[in-house]
Amino acid sequence: MLDPTELLRLAQDLCLHPSRTHRILSSSALTEAELRRAVSTAYYALFHTLLKTAADRLVGDTQQATGAYSLVYRGFDHLHMKKGCEELRKRNLSGSVQKALKRSTVSSDTREFATAFIDLQVNRHLADYDPTEPFTQIDVQSQVEAAENAMQKFVSIAVDEQLDILAFLLVKTRS
């Protein structure tokens, strides 16, 4: 079973390893490949944190061998999640989102998680698909640390709110 924290550690090793951090004061000393893999891997660490939490909470962490667990885990869609996070980061949730979630607001931790998810996904696309986009070590370092922070925030969100968010990001509701 994939442990999302292993992905985070890999991203950190790519750009934060002690043998490399001394170079942060200079211009990018890491290779483009190292920087881009760190960005992409940091996003996937956060992405899989959400998927694993969803499957654990909605199906059960002792049910990993079941079809239900796999279906929930693999039921998430990157674009739908991004669109959902764009709603969750708003200071005032839209009426349709309030109706769907049956809550008028979300916590600051949820807003920061949503902001991080969007930022990391945008940069993951650039890292993986735009060879002309420049990446710098200090910016990539901040992205990897943002992923770690967002992972910590997400798992600390109150369970009832976390469940609402997971369902919101998983299910495509009729408008």
């Binding site: 004061l25 211009s27 980061r89 910016d139 370092q141 901040s142 640390e145």
Partner: protein
């Protein structure tokens, strides 16, 4: 929607509020669109690595984006904020590559 100078000022105020004065001594902004053709502001922030707490860069990054998003929304500016944090060498390299 303000002028780019006004958006730069908004970016500087957000940076000072989130990270403390002097951590990001300079900001530049470019107007662009994202891969869904939505308007975006690409903010570049020069980071003073002597003043910044590098261990907290991730949290600063997210809170800065959130602050920019809220401030732009408060002005009914539909641009979405995207940011880059740059050291002095990267800042100068970006200026050469993307003259404003």
């Amino acid at each position: 929607m303000g002028t780019l100078d006004q958006i730069e000022e908004l970016g500087q105020k957000a940076a000072d509020a989130v990270a403390g004065a002097g951590v990001f001594p300079r900001v530049r902004v470019a107007s662009d669109s994202d891969d869904e053709s939505r308007p975006v502001y690409r903010f570049s922030f020069l980071i003073d690595v002597q003043k910044a707490t590098l261990e907290h860069l991730g949290l600063i990054r997210i809170r800065l984006i959130q602050r920019l998003y809220d401030d732009l929304a408060a002005q009914n500016d539909e641009h979405l904020p995207q940011i880059r944090l740059l050291n002095q060498a990267d800042w100068e390299e970006e200026a050469r590559a993307r003259p404003h």
